[in-house]
Chain length 365, copies 2
Amino acid sequence: MSSSGKEEVAVMESYPMNGGDGTFSYNKNSNFQRVATNVARETINEVIAEKLDIKQFSPALTTFQIADLGCSVGPNTFLAVQNIIEAVRRKYESQGLSSQLPDFQVLFNDHASNDFNTLFASLPSDRPYCAAGVPGSFHGRLFPKASLHFVHSSYALQWLCKVPKELVDPNSPAFNRGRVHYTSAPREVSDAYTSQFAKDMVTFLHARGEEIASGGIMVLVMPGIANGIPYSRVPSGVMFDLLGFSLMDMAKEGIISEAQVDSFNLPVYAPSPDEMTALVESNGCFSIERMDLAAPGSKIDVSFGGHACMLHLRAGMEGIISKHFGSEIIDDLFDRFLEKTNEFSDRLNSAYRQGSQLVAILKRK
Amino acid sequence: MSSSGKEEVAVMESYPMNGGDGTFSYNKNSNFQRVATNVARETINEVIAEKLDIKQFSPALTTFQIADLGCSVGPNTFLAVQNIIEAVRRKYESQGLSSQLPDFQVLFNDHASNDFNTLFASLPSDRPYCAAGVPGSFHGRLFPKASLHFVHSSYALQWLCKVPKELVDPNSPAFNRGRVHYTSAPREVSDAYTSQFAKDMVTFLHARGEEIASGGIMVLVMPGIANGIPYSRVPSGVMFDLLGFSLMDMAKEGIISEAQVDSFNLPVYAPSPDEMTALVESNGCFSIERMDLAAPGSKIDVSFGGHACMLHLRAGMEGIISKHFGSEIIDDLFDRFLEKTNEFSDRLNSAYRQGSQLVAILKRK
């Protein structure tokens, strides 16, 4: 709630996924996220069966409220909430409480710049829930106090609220010359990212602590990395390196300037389980029911090669890249990127076997 | 909730107000509705002060839920809900219950084809409530059962779910030749409209009966007409006549065909207080706290002449007219309409003194 204000962080920028329904839309190119959702589904089912205590909520609970944070435009968000609702229904049945089954309300959240019109137009017509869209940054208050019973967020928390400013300061040891991310960068660069992510999690967990009812479950699915492993070994790390190489090639050919590359940094971060555990414990509102690292990439079939990889990156990153470099470089850039994926296919394939998906299951105390 | 299904009426068409922020946008041309909102404001303040029994809700009420049905893209919806929240706050204060003030959540509803992106982008940044958009027809279930405490709808219920098909059947006595509305039409035409409005109110009141908590208030503001007065005497009746005359002039000049005019009918209706009372009593879920007819037009200053009248009609009706006749006729049509407002200025001015705004205040039993 914006007016509550004090704990809210100004979100400097938001970069919606490619909207609409075209060739490069997120809607058509979120296969990776769908595989990730499938991997998370089993975990969610188990957690609802084992950890959700429906008797802990008001005995007269008439509405079970579910929020999906960073929902984008679908379709993955619809699959995820459908699965959650089915699991909660089974829970009521297994406890002989079918007659007390509440209505379900799903609150789809993303930045106000998200294409909610597309989201709303593609809502399943036979949905077993009341649907609502909630615009705004999840680093501030979005929902009434203690109103949520289940919160889900898939591939959204990796977006930092802002790029740490020392990354673009040529006089700082964290100046990130010739790269677009902390992958393969000096320690000072990754420290700046780590510090920003920690700040973001403080505001995120504080807001959710107020909004989630006691006993409510929060499932966070996001890029992650094993404790102590360099980011260059996970799939998105390889992709960000290749994106940086492609941009630097274009700079060397004079299509863009090196200064433009130096001043561009992708505001995305992947924490380790240990790091996430420490942040949750520091907040204090939640018990940690699970903190797993999965390798969804290893479940993607061989056809998920360079082309799919390029489409995946383009759907998610075209907006932010266009904003900085101009949209006229996009086709050229992703053609070069595609070539790089062939050149570096061994590194990419090896990365897909690494654990790169963090699933944190938290329960509001 | 779409899945509950049985009582839901298929809404054949939806005609969003002109979106965006341009010269002919609803956003820039909803002055009449704003005046109407101001007229309704005092009534709403009185009703909350006198009729809302906050102790009737759960003593542990943590979220006061407000829905605005047919919100369009703003800005009137924001003024209306702000006023409601301030009045509810005063009520808590006057009863010495300030310490128990709940959070406010406002659910902005309109058809899924409404421009929610514009609505969300223009949400007041200092709003004292959690905001959500709820897409879908209010002739079906939209919200969880017994979840709403205050429902507001301003200038939305006049839209019929569909045009009664006998209006476009040349073999029916209700065939509406040469007109675009039941204004100045034979009895059979207005009967077809009346019957459709009654059907729509059945589904509307049934859905709200399920969604509004006992003691919850619903304020419906919409075009209305005094018992027994012909529609040609109220402002929108005059406008629809002038719109029909303009279209028939164009048909006579061969710009469009008469058959196109014959097959076009504006699906909007204005009930009388007696008619609305009977529909609410037939539903049985609500007590009628007030059923007033106001003349907001009489409070509009002289500068609200033909031009403002044209902009008002264009912002609301351009979509539906373009869809039927093609967008290429729009500028010509509204130029002709503007001329007609000068020609018929006496009739228009006289109409503005008639009661034409129905305010129904209902309370869920």
